[in-house]
């Protein structure tokens, strides 16, 4: 069971990554970043790394996303690539 979840998670991870890279809308790709981070966090938890999971949750999914959002807000909000 856990294996299937695990595989699905990786699938999602890769899909979100591809979406992030190839979507035309910049804000879409930035908003996908926390999703990507969240999936990563779940994977870390499954891989028995709670400390790293916490840090990744806060840093990758949280603060980095916030930085990106600020950047987009300061530069070209909503404009296409």
């Amino acid at each position: 069971m856990i294996d299937i979840i695990f595989h699905l998670l990786f699938l999602f991870l890769i899909i979100t990554a591809f979406f992030m890279v190839f979507t035309k809308d910049l804000s879409n790709s930035v908003i996908t970043l926390p999703l990507f981070g969240a999936i990563l966090v779940i994977i870390f938890v499954i891989l028995q790394a709670p400390g790293v999971a916490l840090a990744a949750a806060i840093m990758t999914a949280g603060l980095t996303t916030a930085f990106f959002v600020i950047t987009i807000n300061k530069t070209e909000y909503g404009r296409n690539e």
Partner: protein, 240 residues
Amino acid sequence: MSRLNERFTKLYKIGLVITFAYFLLVLFYDIHNLGTDRKRYLSEHYISQGVQETGATNLVASVLYDYRAFDTLGEATMILTAATVLAFLVPITKATMFGTPFKSIVNQTVKLIIPYIAVLGAYLILFGHISPGGGFVGGVVLSIIAILLTLTYSVEFSEYIFKPDQKKFIEDIGAIGFVLLGLLGIFTGSNFLSNGQANFGTGNAGEVFSAGLMPFINLMIGLKVSAGLAIIFNSLIKEK
């Protein structure tokens, strides 16, 4: 013609990356086939002896703050550098974020949340050597207080509560404190950043005040990281 050229360039780039991926695949396959259960005496030693040697039940913390504390020093320096870069890059100006005023319910909620966040951060910092978390994560959580204030009220308000100079001061104090705690090792006749090997007494593993200097190091890192990230965030916001 230029379109064709562009196409070709793109295909070429994809080809390059796929070739590289193939290389990586072969490499990983080879390493995997080598048998992963090679003896990792270092981690075996940490797992079997770590709790006795350092007094911290959280082995990650014992690695971060004791065995490989020097890495953590570099890491702390990294955040300080980033914070200084951002503070330097953005001159002290007034600016707003988003430009959308929030409803008062949001403001009230934030007021309510802040104490909880503070407690959570303090918990994460102080119990860093016992449970997941540690100075770094706790510090980030603490910095969220300032960030929330910035987001919901304004940069001005946030910087009125936590003055930039104070934050910088706290950050530097955290960094200096970390180094001074490390130097304590030298003064007690041991080496730099020694903790488990120096005679600070590891205490009973699992208690808050155990593992020698580790809670204090956690505290310093927490202070540093919280102040540093708040500076980074506010600087980014202030950038016009």
